[in-house]
Amino acid sequence: MTGFLIQRLLQAIVIMAVMSVIVFAGVYAIGNPLEVLLPPEAPQDIRDAVIKRFGLDRPLWEQYGLYIYNLFQGDLGRSYIYNEPVLQLIFGRLPATIELVLTSVIGALVIGVPLGIWAGYRPNAFSSRAIMAVSILGFSVPTFWIGLILILTFAVNLGWLPSGGRGDTVEVLGVAWSVFTLDGWSHLILPATNLALFKLAIMIRLARAGTREVMLSDTVKFARAAGISEGTIIRRHVLKLISIPIATVFGLELGSTLAFAVVTETIFAWPGVGKLIIDSIQNLDRPVMMAYLILTAGLFVTINLVVDLVYALLDPRLRRRAAP
């Protein structure tokens, strides 16, 4: 098992290295980041001086080498825009995003899986068809569109909930959280719903598909014939078997939601990293992009690792292989 973990760790490092090269080369391909930031009226000598000060007059490989060298000193650089160390900038906003993402994904899981199981258990019931209709709508409508509709309906027309921002927060373990305050929840609920709908749709579909398969399997037929109660069947067989695809998708979606909370954060003015990264892309704030993408890559590798481990736990057939 330890060997397995070390192997994955090495892979993670390789991935992050490759990522950093891709981003560096990508930004380089777009052009000199400072051309977006320099005041347009700045005369050429000032332009050259600033570009030199930021080391952007050097060849690509030299810039990259310097970046890596500093990286190993634990220095990921400072944002071109905010001049704050990028880690401070990212970690300062990460809790808001994590809070939003976890609320969405867990909400989607907790609501979606039971609905999906029901829809798969009674596939022809009216309620099941209604659930499926909702799930299909859930991933048919683009997120930004739903977000605006939610704001128009609940914040502007009805005036029930705030239109954006994060609301009151409480410090827990040195980090500000809004899930622990009522005002925080009132701010959280719209963006979380917005972000969760797509995941909810996926959870419902996966749970339904899995349940339908299991319910028609011989195992369940025999179990029923043996007089085992329906509740026990669902707990013992259905939940166990559908948990594998759900674990995969949950892992993938957790990561992708983190990376793609951009749109929701933009619309709801949620002060998380998603907004930060889209703005840094638009400003070509390379240090922030680099740090964010390296961190995200690391996070994804971690999530995939956890998913693989959960696989092994859930599916005993794979365990033979994972622990030789």
Partner: protein, 526 residues
């Protein structure tokens, strides 16, 4: 006293207290980048930090110069300006403002400024000499007629409070924590985080008098619809940059007041003047073998093809005015003699035929779509108008992060972006755009079409050295006329800006041409 008048007096008192205790919450499109006022020259940054710090020279609503921390200034010889400073001004920590603070502020800029460099405002300064506590002499590297205009963004920090926070490593920490964020402005710094809320509280000893708001919260909401939604939901009292899409509907809304002002931004179409230009083709895609934009008839045809009235009325839904020159009318150096540009597509087609393109040609038109209000839509509108005179136009409205680096590499032939005359005078605009690129005289840095008119160059150089304002104005007016006449730059529209406020919270908003939303000049509803 009768009970009746008691009630009035009491009522008056209550109103006064309520007004004094008010908080103004503003939804702004862009927030500051740092609490260090010398870090960035960007517009939203200046807008935010102007609450905390004063500039050496002030600007009024229409960008006219006015006294601020300097009460008067005059050139005493060709290369020296003398500034008299205001006496009795207090910093937020209670200390006195003196000439030392100005010198300190100027000298720390090169050490702390970021990529949107503030060095542009001090580039002419050779030396700063303190004559006494309230007199300052500034020597320039040559005759610098426009020096006072450069100082409208020269923020003054406390030399005592910022002494230990004046290198690029420590400055941000010192200022963002509030320790060094000591200014003379109408508000004191309370808290801020990047992209978050800037919280300010009133500085009662401000030299202009106390601000009408007890505290101010500036919340960054970059999306136009979300910002308006926040206003309608009552989460914020005031928003800036109302989208042209929402303006007409808002005007009809009784709960919301709108405030319309002219901006400093002009949308310019820029036509490459080099011998070879990359993005112009014959209609079948083959090379043309020449740059049609070098022909004046072609440039004039494009100019005549632009229906500026329609651009304003339809595309911007009224939020603009047809542009005649490269800056708004009335700015220092703009010309009164430039006529409104006619719209005449038939004449445009004749001109194209005369220039040897009876069937037109094809071109790629590039512009930003995320920088200024309406930029992408104006670009599409231009595409339609050029198509109507037979020029197949492939419209590329793209992100500024792609646009500007490529534009700097001179990869475009016909391109449009906005230009803001932030200082309110012509040397800023014509010096960057109309003068031919010339590193020696440090002009033409943004002339990406390599436009060159020797007479314009001569006038701009003469103007930069002319200390007499009237003579200088004449040079610039002439340069403006010649540039517009050459039609390498085609001004399209002057943008307007709209603020919107909840009628029960905000009474009046100063509609500043620099688009700043300064709480000091915003009146509570009575």
């Amino acid at each position: 006293m009768k009970p009746f008048s008691w009630a009035i007096a009491l009522g008056g008192l209550l109103v006064a207290t309520a007004a004094g205790a008010q908080t103004l919450t503003v939804g702004v499109r862009g927030g500051p980048e740092s609490m260090d006022p010398h870090f960035s020259a960007l517009g939203p940054q200046a807008d935010a930090v102007k609450h905390i710090y004063d500039t050496l020279v002030g600007t009024g609503v229409d960008l006219q110069l006015e006294p601020s921390l300097a009460t008067s200034w005059e050139p005493i010889d060709d290369v020296t300006w003398e500034f008299k400073l205001r006496e009795g001004v207090k910093f937020h920590d209670g200390s006195d403002f003196t000439a030392e603070d100005v010198k300190f502020s100027i000298e720390r800029i090169p050490n702390v400024t970021g990529p949107t460099t503030m060095e542009i405002y001090i580039r002419r300064i050779a030396d700063v000499e303190i004559v006494d506590d309230y007199t300052l002499r500034i020597t320039t590297d040559g005759p610098a007629a426009t020096l006072p205009f450069d100082f409208v963004r020269l923020f003054i920090v406390s030399s005592a409070a910022a002494a230990d926070f004046s290198d690029i490593e420590s400055a941000t920490e010192g200022f963002n924590s509030g320790e060094a964020a000591i200014g003379t402005g109408p508000f004191k710094y309370v808290s801020w985080e990047p992209k978050g809320e800037l919280v300010l509280e009133r500085f009662d000893d401000h030299w202009r008098g106390a601000a009408p708001w007890e505290s101010v919260v500036r919340r960054e909401i970059s999306d136009d619809s979300s910002r308006l939604a926040a206003l309608k939901a009552g989460d914020v009292d005031l928003i800036n940059y109302v989208s042209s899409a929402d303006y007409l509907a808002l005007e009809r809304d009784n709960d919301i007041n709108t405030f319309l002002g002219d901006s400093v931004y002009v949308m310019n179409l820029q036509l490459d003047q080099r011998d070879e230009t990359p993005k112009v083709y014959a209609k079948d895609g083959s090379p043309l073998g020449e740059n049609p934009f070098q022909k004046k008839a072609v440039r004039e045809a494009l100019d005549l093809a632009i229906d500026r009235e329609t651009m304003v009325d339809i595309v911007l839904e009224g939020l603009g005015t047809p542009a005649r020159q490269l800056m708004p009318e009335g700015f220092f150096g703009s010309s009164d003699e430039i006529e409104a540009k006619p719209y005449d597509p038939d004449r445009a087609m004749e001109l194209l035929a005369e220039a040897g393109y009876p069937d037109g040609f094809a071109m790629d038109l590039y512009c930003t779509n995320d920088r200024l209000p309406g930029d992408g839509a104006i670009c599409e509108g231009l595409g339609q108008m050029f198509a109507q005179i037979g020029i197949d136009t492939n419209v590329n409205a793209i992100s500024r992060s792609v646009y500007f680096p490529a534009q700097a590499r001179k990869e475009y032939s016909a391109f449009m972006n906005g230009w803001g005359t932030l200082t309110g005078e012509a040397s800023y605009t014509l010096g960057s755009l109309a003068h031919s690129p010339n590193e020696e005289v440090r002009m033409g840095a943004f002339n990406r079409i390599e436009y060159e008119n020797p007479e314009v160059d001569r006038l701009m150089q003469a103007g930069s050295k002319e200390l007499d304002a009237d003579k200088r104005r004449a040079f610039y007016e002439e340069a403006m006329k010649l540039t517009v006449e050459d039609r390498a730059y085609l001004p399209i529209v002057v943008l307007q800006t709209v603020w919107a406020a909840n009628a029960d919270a905000v009474g009046d908003v100063a509609t500043r041409a620099d688009e700043e939303t300064l709480a000091f000049y915003i009146q509570p509803a009575s």
